[in-house]
Each structure stands twice: as structure tokens, then as C-alpha cells.
């Protein structure tokens, strides 16, 4: 059984294939797909995004419809805590120069990524994995952040000044700066989140290979740890976005210091 699985699923694009694919049930990077207008869509990722989005928006709208200054509910306090924290981080990084919408973007990023990551805790993780374990979600988010950062920087400093600061302090380092700005950062931002959550799913798959009478303990332990990882990754993604924004709109001193 194991040998057939190896033969079936051996994947030249997967360097770890020989080890990970030794078991039939572990199929990293496989998705339920649907073809529409000749395009391939990952149904499970879209469903996961819809569920996470529905939870986040539902809680948010429910909270917002009952938001009061006088006697806030616990949910409202939670949201207020988050938005205050995000605002504080942005104020620390950018002060009054904070571009419009950054608070909203970072708040949305944090809450959505957090809830999306925590979908991994549900026992349905085989059917609907956390959408952040699919590059199709993390790439657009990272892309959005990088594009927004550049737009904010150009609008704040002017295109000439903004691009000129790539050549500072040494003009010959400008290519490295450009690569960092437009390749390393978006890719690392996206793949850090993807990798962590994806690995969580793989771990669950590996633990699933254990006999059922011992599997529950490491499964439970891992899911608790996965919640922690999910929270940390949401935090890191949001903090890095804020740092990129503050670099883009920050003073020349701050920009040169990085």
C-alpha cells in the first residue's frame, strides 16, 4: 500500500515528496478544483475564504450595529482593543504621516488572517483547509500590501523622491534595493504565512497516520500550538505591513536606517 502511494504521488516538483508522500492520506498542495471559463479554481480555498470572511464580517457588522460609547459589549471591546493596537503601531511607525486607509487595511489583514488561520483548528481541516495554506490567498494579500505601500510612498514623497531614495546611501546597491522591495519582500511576506499554515496542515496529516487510540493527544496538542502559530503569523504579517508602510512614508533618516 505504501509503495503504490509512493508511485502514484511521486512529484518531481516536490523536493520532500519521497518522505512526505510515503503515506496515502498526505497530499500537500492538493485542492478541490472547479473549471470555469477554462480557468481552474480551488473550491476549498474559496470556501474557506468565504467562511472566514463571513465570520469576520458577521462579527464585525454585528458589533458595529450595536456599537455604543457608553456600555460596550465584550465583542466591541475586543475589536476596539485590536483597532487601538493597530492604530498605536501605525502611530509609532509613521506618526501623523500615516497614509489614509492603512489602519483599515492592517486591521482587516490581522483579523481576517487570524480567523482564516484558526480554521485549521476545526476538525474539517481535510475538507476545508485554512485558506492561508493556499498561495492563491497569500499572494494577492502580499501583492496588495506591496502595491499599496508603493502608492502611499509615491503619493507622500512624490515619485522622483521616492524612487531616488533607492539609490541612497550607495547608488550601486540600488538593484539590491529594488529586488528587496519588489521581489524579496512580497514573496517572503506571502510564503512565510503560507509555509507556516501549510506546515500545520502537513503536521496534522502526519499525526493522522498514528493509530487512532494515540492520535488524539498529539492532535489536540498540535492544534493548540497551531492556534498559537496562526495568531503569531497574523501578527507578523500585519506588523511587517505596518513596517513597510512606515518605511515608505517615513523620514529619510528612518528610510536610510533599514
Amino acid at each position: 500500500m505504501i509503495s503504490t502511494a509512493t508511485n502514484e504521488l511521486a512529484n518531481p516538483a516536490n523536493p520532500a515528496g519521497g518522505l512526505v508522500l510515503a503515506a496515502e492520506e498526505i497530499k500537500p498542495g492538493e485542492h478541490w478544483t472547479a473549471e470555469l471559463f477554462g480557468l481552474t479554481f480551488n473550491v476549498d480555498t474559496i470556501l474557506g475564504t468565504l467562511i472566514a470572511g463571513a465570520i469576520v464580517c458577521g462579527l464585525g457588522l454585528y458589533m458595529a450595529s450595536r456599537a455604543t460609547a457608553g456600555r460596550p459589549s465584550k465583542l466591541q471591546l475586543l475589536f476596539e482593543m485590536l483597532v487601538s493596537w493597530v492604530r498605536e503601531q501605525i502611530q509609532d511607525g509613521m506618526g501623523v504621516r500615516a497614509p489614509r486607509g492603512v489602519v483599515e487595511l492592517c486591521m482587516t489583514l490581522f483579523v481576517f488572517i487570524l480567523i482564516a488561520n484558526w480554521l485549521a483548528v476545526l476538525p474539517s481541516e481535510n475538507v476545508i483547509p485554512p485558506p492561508t495554506a493556499d498561495v492563491n490567498l497569500v499572494y494577492p494579500m502580499a501583492l496588495l500590501v506591496i502595491v499599496w505601500v508603493n502608492v502611499a510612498g509615491i503619493r507622500h514623497k512624490g515619485a522622483k523622491h521616492y524612487f531616488a531614495h533607492f539609490t541612497e546611501p550607495y547608488a550601486f546597491l540600488a538593484p539590491i534595493e529594488v529586488i528587496t522591495q519588489y521581489f524579496s519582500r512580497p514573496v517572503s511576506l506571502a510564503l512565510r504565512l503560507f509555509g507556516n499554515i501549510f506546515a500545520g496542515g502537513v503536521m496534522i496529516g502526519v499525526i493522522g497516520q498514528l493509530p487512532f487510540y494515540v492520535l488524539w493527544l498529539p492532535n489536540m496538542a498540535w492544534k493548540l500550538f497551531d492556534m498559537f502559530i496562526g495568531a503569531i503569523q497574523a501578527l507578523i504579517f500585519t506588523l511587517l505591513a505596518i513596517i513597510y508602510f512606515s518605511e515608505a512614508v517615513g523620514s529619510d533618516d528612518e528610510a536610510a536606517a533599514h
Partner: protein
């Protein structure tokens, strides 16, 4: 729309497919909901809460200030009242002293007046008695003299001397005992 489990050998899970656009759209939708419907009321209530807290702090400071003022006023009023009370007490004491003094003076004057009147009365009565006695004693002396004429007629001078001495004695005696003396003197003279 057919659903199949992807098992293509060429698939690399690091490469996105068309889901990319669906996810981008989905995330932008969530961002829109947050931006438009969730963050504004949240910020509004946060701002209101901050205003409320600030107002409460200001109110508390105001109340504190008012309390201090009221305490000052109270202390001031208390001190004033104490001074007033002391003043009233002092004046009352002075009044009582004055009234007592007045009453004492009045009483003394009354006593004096009563004593004076008593003395005057006594003097009047004495005079009256003396006058009466003088009037009566003349007669009595004459009667006595007439009775004694038999014994003393021989000597007119003796008789006059006797009467004069008798009258002088009466004059000298205190008014209240004049009669008694006079009668006793007369009796002794009669006996003599």
C-alpha cells in the same frame, strides 16, 4: 462545472492559479466591509468614549474645585459664626453685668429712699410727740404746779426754776421716752 481531485504531475503548489483573482476579490470585499461598515462606528464609539472620559475627568476636577470652594466657604462661615457667637456672648455678659449693676444701684437707692423716709417719718413723729408733749406738759406742769403750790408757793423763783428744769429735761430726753421720763421725773419730783 466539474469537480476533480487534482493529481496532475506538473502541479506545483507554489504557483497560483485562477483562484488568485477570486481570493483578491474576496479580500478586497472584506476590506471594503471593514473600511465602510465596521471601522467607522468603532472609531466613532472610541472617540466618543474618549470624549466622555475626558468630560468625566473635567467634571470630576470641576466638582473637586467646587467642593474645595464650598469647604472654604463653610470654614469661613463657621469662623464668622464663631466670632459672632463670641461677640454675642460677650455683649450678653456685659449686658447682664450692666443690668445687675443697675438693679443693685436701684435697690440701693430704694433702700436709701426707704430708710430716709423712715427717718423722716420718725423725725416727724418725734417732733409731733414733742410738740404734743410741750402743749400738754404746759398744762400738766401748771396742774402740777398748782398742786405743789402749797408746798412751793413761798418761792416764785423756785417754782419757775423747777418748771424750767423740768422742761429742759424734757427737751434733752429722746422723743420716744420723753413722756415716760417726764412722767417719771414728775413722779420723782412729786415724790421728792
Amino acid at each position: 462545472m466539474s469537480t476533480t481531485v487534482l493529481a496532475q504531475e506538473t502541479n506545483n503548489f507554489l504557483l497560483p492559479n485562477a483562484t488568485f483573482f477570486a481570493e483578491l476579490f474576496g479580500f478586497l470585499l472584506i476590506l471594503f466591509v471593514f473600511w465602510r461598515y465596521i471601522i467607522p462606528p468603532l472609531s466613532k464609539s472610541l472617540r466618543e468614549r474618549q470624549d466622555m472620559v475626558q468630560k468625566q475627568v473635567e467634571d470630576a476636577e470641576e466638582a473637586q474645585r467646587k467642593l474645595k470652594q464650598a469647604e472654604q466657604r463653610y470654614d469661613q462661615a463657621l469662623a464668622e459664626a464663631r466670632t459672632e457667637a463670641a461677640k454675642i456672648r460677650d455683649s450678653a455678659r456685659a449686658d447682664s453685668e450692666r443690668i445687675r449693676e443697675e438693679l443693685r444701684e436701684q435697690a440701693k437707692a430704694e433702700v436709701e429712699r426707704i430708710r430716709q423716709r423712715g427717718e423722716e417719718q420718725l423725725a416727724t413723729q418725734r417732733d409731733q410727740v414733742v410738740r404734743q408733749l410741750r402743749g400738754e406738759l404746759g398744762g400738766l406742769a401748771l396742774q402740777l404746779a398748782e398742786r405743789l403750790v402749797g408746798q412751793h408757793l413761798a418761792n416764785d423763783d423756785h417754782q419757775r426754776a423747777t418748771v424750767d428744769a423740768f422742761l429742759a429735761e424734757l427737751d434733752a430726753a429722746p422723743s420716744d421716752k420723753a413722756g415716760e421720763r417726764a412722767s417719771s421725773a414728775a413722779a420723782s419730783r412729786r415724790a421728792g
